[in-house]
């Protein structure tokens, strides 16, 4: 398999954005469409669609220039896991090594492969970051192995993915291996996801596929590019293209932007900008309040136990809650407590795995901290993915400080690569349940 073949991929002359330039929410006037110059600038470089990126994005979760477009494939059962594959044009993403962030630009790659790993019973997305391997080859042909990156994206949440070079057009077989889930597992997940598993699927790599995914790209109105906010999560039912992810029953914290002369932005923390796009299967975008069915983690105020707070650090929201002996999280021991820390992306409440979180507990009258320890990453069917500490030495009034020796090492899709990096410690005052 040489790489020369891929030069003819994704060659689109002229209109990168496909037939109808569907700018989100913009049914409107011609001057809202990209002008001739812009189109020329974004004309495709042989190899992959050249998509505009936000120049000099802010250090927070920000709106990228366009919604994701992809082909969804049927999900596959593999051992305890449900694997949900998706294939799309080669993507730009960012890899995090310690504090170092490096953009991975598609270069001779043909597709971006993604798999969401779920629990088939609850539908919950699993933090699969171990024992990952993808094997790719044309049917009957020799295969090539890759280790995909655990990554986060605004629309897709946590998934595993990579840019992969292929070869000639044809039917490709992909095998995906997932290791046992490394995190501690509690509740209905106890004893589950202990075995590695492999699932496989095929997809047709041809011009029809390339046309489909490139035609599906939808741009946001340029004035939103780089604003604080996120594209809404895709939710489970992406096969129903007729369905809109409106929040019709939404509370009054948001407003629709059906007319586009109304472009003021609110800056309050819980934001209420909501834009929805017509005719396409996306979850809107902005800073509005997401419905919990579409998010990986429950809203902070729906976490069990006593919520200590939800301060922000590096634009992540760090919710912390304490559960006691009444709960199933501690053994029958009146004095034990369970501290669960749930870092999440600020708008979509997506999980943030591969972090190191340290907890320090200080008490009036004690010179030394009562506790100083790293939290254990844990997966629970109610709490979701969180970082935990069980202790019998906790009192109301204690000062809890959480610090982040290393930020989430997951790779990032556009909009997430400047956030969750510099993370200052956050503080809480303990209140026992």
């Amino acid at each position: 398999m040489t790489q020369n073949v891929s030069r003819r991929r994704f060659i689109r002359t002229g209109v990168v954005t496909g037939g109808a330039v569907a700018l989100a929410g913009c049914a409107g006037p011609e001057d809202e469409q990209p002008d001739e110059d812009t189109e020329t600038e974004t004309a495709v470089e042989a190899g992959q669609p050249e998509l505009p990126v936000v120049e000099d994005p802010p250090d927070v979760v920000y709106l990228p220039t366009h919604f994701e477009a992809m082909r969804h494939l049927d999900s596959v059962e593999a051992g305890d896991f449900e694997l949900v594959p998706m294939v799309t044009y080669p993507h730009q993403f960012w890899n995090v090594t310690g504090d170092e962030v490096q953009v991975a630009e598609p270069d001779g790659d043909d597709v971006h492969l993604m798999v969401t790993v779920r629990d088939p019973e609850t539908g919950m997305v699993l933090p699969a970051d171990t024992g990952l391997e993808i094997t790719v080859g044309r049917e009957g042909d020799v295969t090539e192995s890759h280790v995909p990156w655990p990554m986060i994206s605004q629309e897709m949440g946590f998934h595993i993915g990579d840019n992969v070079p292929l070869g000639e057009d044809g039917t490709y077989e992909i095998e995906v291996s997932v290791g046992s889930i490394d995190a501690e597992r509690t509740g209905e997940f106890a004893g589950r996801f202990e075995e590695a598993a492999t699932g496989s699927f095929t997809f047709e790599f041809d011009q029809a596929f390339r046309d489909e995914v490139v035609d599906g790209i939808e741009y946001l109105d340029e004035e939103y590019w780089g604003d604080p906010g996120a594209l809404g999560p895709m939710g489970h039912d992406h096969h129903d293209h007729g369905e809109h992810h409106h929040d019709d029953e939404h509370d009054d914290h948001h407003h629709h932007d059906d007319e586009h002369d109304d472009h003021h932005h609110h800056d309050d923390e819980h934001g209420d900008e909501h834009h929805h796009d017509e005719g396409v299967d996306h979850g809107g975008f902005g800073t509005y309040h997401r419905e919990s069915e579409t998010t990986e983690l429950p809203p902070a105020n729906e976490l069990p136990g006593e919520l200590l707070g939800e301060p922000q650090s590096g634009d992540a929201v760090i919710a912390a809650t304490v559960l006691d002996a009444e709960s199933r999280f501690v053994d029958d021991d009146d004095d034990s407590y369970y501290l669960a820390v749930s870092p999440r992306t600020p708008y979509n409440r997506g999980m943030l795995p591969m972090m190191t979180i340290d907890a320090t507990i200080e008490r009036d009258g004690d010179d030394e901290p009562v506790i100083e320890t790293q939290l254990t990453d844990t997966l629970d069917h109610e709490l979701g993915y969180h970082y935990a500490l069980e202790t019998d030495d906790l009192q109301s009034g204690d000062a809890l400080t959480l610090s982040f020796p290393s930020p989430p090492q997951v790779s990032r899709h556009a909009g997430y690569e400047t956030a969750f990096l510099e993370m200052d410690p956050v503080e809480f005052t303990v209140e026992l349940p």
Partner: protein
């Protein structure tokens, strides 16, 4: 495997392909290619050879920094005794052939270097067990990431190496092919003695220029391998300070004293992510250590490092503590934890390969006891480090994200006097 069109590839790539093809085809191609340059005659042998088969270092040249320069071209031949042939039957003819070969070709990289090793499967042919002074377990998976690794249970593994691909192939043809004479010396015919398994012949290369010239292969996208890199991953390796002496890996007691054990691991390498999705800083962090990356200690392929990587061995606790803060741990950083008295316990004689048109590495490791290899491999796996920090089993865990173990084999390389069909008791009959 077929020879490429000579006009379409560089000389290095052509010669490498010729070695990969092997046989008379490969040999003729090498000879034709090198004859164009007034090919030097094959240096004759006949000198007395070291007692240790693995004593190669004194013949190797040394670069400006004092590092041994490994021979450029390598062949691994996996060989079984033919049906009905007992070790006792093969002993003398094989010894005669090996002796003729060493008479015909000088010992050294400008001639031929070789080791002959025997697997636990070979020793299993005898009633008595292998002498207990030798630590040679059956090959087995060594990590959680190799559920379908193939375990080599051939009788013998012969490792041939030379800077001259034509000599390498001629030697091979003398031993296993139709060639009856080399450099005026008659080579006995061994075809009745041996049978060849399906996985019988592996080849490879090492040295600046060779990987760059051979990067049109699966596992590499584009041409990212630097010209000066001796290995596919783009960095120098085998620094004098990170290799033990041959003495250290020699069996010191018992009937096989003077020999060594050999582990051969075949890895496929996936370099798309390594070169195209990460930068030099990240590669240095993962190959060496985050400290090396932060302090910018490695320039280009690492020639500036001289003869030492500069890794300071750390305890497991220190490694975990560092990993927590750094979010990444380096390969050299991890394996240094397996050192004893500051010295590594395995001697690496690895080389790159493009067998089956797949970028890879034949990792040949010599150690006094096979468990020394296992200890070092466990250090590389970094299981405890992954458990104690945000690092996963592969991502940000040294170079584990880019290598896939496909095969493993364990062999005893006896001292030279027992080179041909030794008994488990270490006698010559």
């Amino acid at each position: 495997m077929r020879l490429p069109n000579r006009a379409a590839v560089s000389r290095r790539e052509y010669l490498n392909a010729a070695v990969a093809v092997g046989g008379m085809t490969g040999l003729s191609a090498c000879v034709a290619e090198l004859d164009g340059d007034d090919r030097d005659p094959i240096p004759t042998g006949g000198e007395s050879l070291p007692d240790r088969q693995h004593a190669w270092n004194e013949t190797l040249s040394v670069d400006d920094d004092g590092n041994h320069v490994p021979p450029k071209h390598h062949v691994l031949r996996y060989v079984n005794l033919a049906e009905g042939v007992e070790p006792a039957d093969a002993r003398e003819p094989f010894a005669a052939a090996l002796s003729s070969l060493s008479e015909a070709i000088a010992w050294g990289p400008d001639g031929l270097l070789a080791t002959v090793g025997y697997s636990p499967a070979y020793f299993g042919r005898f009633e008595e067990s292998l002498d207990e002074s030798v630590d040679l377990p059956d090959p087995a998976p060594l990590t959680d990431l190799e559920s379908d690794v193939a375990l080599d249970a051939v009788d013998l593994l012969i490792h041939l190496a030379s800077d001259r691909p034509d000599i390498l192939l001629a030697a091979e043809e003398g031993l296993f092919g139709d060639r009856a004479e080399l450099n005026g010396v008659e080579i006995p015919d061994l075809s009745e003695l041996f049978a060849f398994p399906e996985y019988d012949r592996r080849t490879g290369f090492v040295g600046a220029g060779l990987p760059a010239d051979n990067q049109d292969t699966r596992g590499i996208s584009g041409e990212p391998v630097p010209e000066e890199a001796p290995f596919f991953m783009g960095f120098r390796s085998g620094f004098a300070e990170s290799q033990p002496s041959e003495e250290r890996v020699t069996i010191s007691e018992g009937p096989f004293a003077g020999g060594t054990t050999q582990h051969v691991e075949k890895l496929d390498i996936q370099l798309n992510a390594w070169f195209n999705q990460e930068n030099h800083h990240q590669r240095v962090a993962k190959m060496f250590s985050p400290h090396h990356a932060r302090e910018e200690l490695v320039e280009g392929v690492g020639e500036n490092l001289g003869s030492a990587t500069g890794i300071v061995p750390e305890t497991m606790d220190a490694l975990i503590a560092a990993a927590r803060e750094d979010g990444v741990v380096g390969h050299a950083q991890k394996v240094a934890a397996a050192r004893e008295d500051g010295q590594p316990i395995i001697l690496r004689r690895d080389f790159n390969t493009t067998d089956d048109k797949q970028a890879g590495l034949h990792f040949v490791s010599l150690q006094e006891e096979l468990t020394d290899f296992e200890k070092t491999r466990n250090a590389m796996t970094g299981r405890e480090i992954a458990g104690g920090s945000g690092i996963s089993s592969r991502v940000n865990n040294g170079i584990l994200q880019y290598v896939f173990v496909r095969r493993r084999g364990n062999f005893l390389i006896p001292p030279r006097e027992l080179q041909s069909m030794p008994t488990p008791a270490g006698t010559a009959e």
